[in-house]
Symmetry: C3
Subunit: 310 residues, 3 copies
Amino acid sequence: MRWRHKDLLTIDQLSKEEIFYIFEVAKKFQEVNQRPIKKLPTLKGKSIILFFAEPSTRTKTSFDIAAKRLSADTFSLTKKGSSLEKGESLKDTALTLQAMNPDLIVIRHKDSGAPFFLSKMLKCGVINAGDGQHSHPTQALLDGFTLYSLWKEFENKTLLIVGDIKHSRVARSDIELFTKLGTKVRVCGPSTLLPKSIKKWPVEVYTDLEEACKGVDAIQCLRLQLERQTSGLLPSLREYSKRYGLKLKHLELANPDVKIMHPGPMNRGVEISDEVADFKDSIILDQVTSGVCIRMALLYIYLIPPVQKD
Amino acid sequence: MRWRHKDLLTIDQLSKEEIFYIFEVAKKFQEVNQRPIKKLPTLKGKSIILFFAEPSTRTKTSFDIAAKRLSADTFSLTKKGSSLEKGESLKDTALTLQAMNPDLIVIRHKDSGAPFFLSKMLKCGVINAGDGQHSHPTQALLDGFTLYSLWKEFENKTLLIVGDIKHSRVARSDIELFTKLGTKVRVCGPSTLLPKSIKKWPVEVYTDLEEACKGVDAIQCLRLQLERQTSGLLPSLREYSKRYGLKLKHLELANPDVKIMHPGPMNRGVEISDEVADFKDSIILDQVTSGVCIRMALLYIYLIPPVQKD
Amino acid sequence: MRWRHKDLLTIDQLSKEEIFYIFEVAKKFQEVNQRPIKKLPTLKGKSIILFFAEPSTRTKTSFDIAAKRLSADTFSLTKKGSSLEKGESLKDTALTLQAMNPDLIVIRHKDSGAPFFLSKMLKCGVINAGDGQHSHPTQALLDGFTLYSLWKEFENKTLLIVGDIKHSRVARSDIELFTKLGTKVRVCGPSTLLPKSIKKWPVEVYTDLEEACKGVDAIQCLRLQLERQTSGLLPSLREYSKRYGLKLKHLELANPDVKIMHPGPMNRGVEISDEVADFKDSIILDQVTSGVCIRMALLYIYLIPPVQKD
């Protein structure tokens, strides 16, 4: 494998081979995370900026842990108190950060496309940790890695994504990844929360959750942004939960051993019932564990790119 | 000593022997904190999450310094911007954190009992850094350690705790620790700020500060939460300060060399006068220094539990 | 060189020889910042508190990167959530921090003089990272270092500082540094934004920007605090920009190769036009890069003071 990418912006940019390469590296780090001494000197002397212009604890902590377990130094910036708040342009903020010679910038931003904009401007690598409604490639990779550990293959499998498909960067990145790897993808949600262009997407579309669940091997339940309610796109939380909240009865329609996923944080009782969240085949916490492994793998690959290995 | 505990939740759970063991370990780290190079490789590769759901700079910085002086990695989470704010349950937040394989979680929470709840759920160790009005064991340990360095013994001594006993987790934990070690404990405050159950506590109760001070060897002055004033439990700050603010005249009633303590931050001129705060036998800053040593000792003992030593 | 200073409070306290010594050390670190492994073990085991009681990402991140590249541990405190917010005095906060045995405290504070106050009280070193309208010595040092790398000498050169001279700690520190090194300094701004005492300062004063630009070798453009507008000191942003915004036409009046500087963050279109900000001889990003080198040099010199070297 020779790594061709300076940045990780979308899943689309990665080949199937590259995705599996990331999984292989993540697998090695999985073992490190179980050791009493969870630390390798691999990235000592590397500076990673975690620039989270949109709040996130989960993803930021996951990157931070991944970086420090590889001995890199991290520097956290939030929008609050940053120069962006003082009216500086994203371009100037980014060039300023680059002038401090970081080795990598991890960015989350509310504007779709912000990481692309940075990647063109900066010499150092950029990893997209979620941009607007557009893309969340590290989430898709950790979702894929979690199922890969269980399934060993992606073909002859069906994944269902339930919820607010329209506004979800997780849905977009998951669809890119799983279809590329050969898994059939279904989406299900109220028609107001499906994008207009959905017919052109490589997915089967459902508005009835029971129909959608029949014969699937995994279900990714999306977090419902509670503010959607006030936007007029939802009748009420109660109504949403009744029609699209995942319950035990749905799992019975799916294949045996159906895996339950959620990118978190969960609204229990809204998009997912307690019984489903705590179900024996819920792999929601495995996703979190995979997140650290995938991010260790990405930091490693992007900071010390493989030249000819394998 | 063989360490039996996964968690540190209250002083009550510790035996007298265990408390002295913690002091002995803290004593060794005291010397490290005076060196030009204040760092040991002891906890390298350990991940410690500092989860402060209630604001605190002093305690969090103390834990952070303690951890880094032992070469552990720390990850700070606050309620602000965390998933808790997005409506996630404490249980799910905790399970998510655990899924990232930390070695220890230090938690401060406004709800009494939150650390207990976590300790039952989590495989990794939990250290209570203050929960509601319930318990603040690391504060009591640092208070005990500070006096131990001076007194060498706890028997035949009297400690007075002055202020809002009712709402104070510091008072509760101090009482547990000092009575266990054989020190007599007195409490003093306006009757509105004494708990109803006070008569069952192993303390002597005073409402007159002058009486309370007679013959004591140390006085712990509690911070008055200024919001108590609006709750109707206090006549006025001025009145409180007049009756319960510690002044030089009180020290004259106490034993010679009476030690003055305060868990900080101080409201000078309210619960403590400038003269007393800056008194020659004020050990308020020694408490802060002890705090780092005690927390180094606890991180060390909980992360690398003694098996058979001593 | 034998280092005589415990603290860095103003440029005034430094001799010409000491300033050049700092530049020489910074030059060595410049090279480290270009390496793939940007880390030296020099300050391992040193604890540095970054106490930013006034928001700042740029300067704080610069110090944080500088410290970690030298293997020091850093501890960030902001006013928000600190004991200062709970009504603790600056003195008590500082003594508390000192009791945790840090090796150095870097402080930014909105009150002019706060770092001086601390320096007198604390045994550990204090570095002023900007106090009110008074002083910002590390900015002046990085400005000087940036021009030194290009000019090789400071004599026979003229620096123009444009903008709100009255409220600018950058202007004050730059004037102290550059006049000490032998550079002629001009200032230019509307008379409402010049201090009353300006006639006593060792600078040439202009209110006409075109006149001011004639024959200068470098121009430092100050950030206009947009809140000045509401204070009545400015007619309007548009008017300010028209008369004092730096544009290409001004550069033509200056010496060839005139260097353009800005301490950041820039208000493009207000105090500086896009063309000037992105001009071939704009060294605004070099200032940022120099900032890390200068701060590495200062941390090194203050934490491991030269005794007899050179």
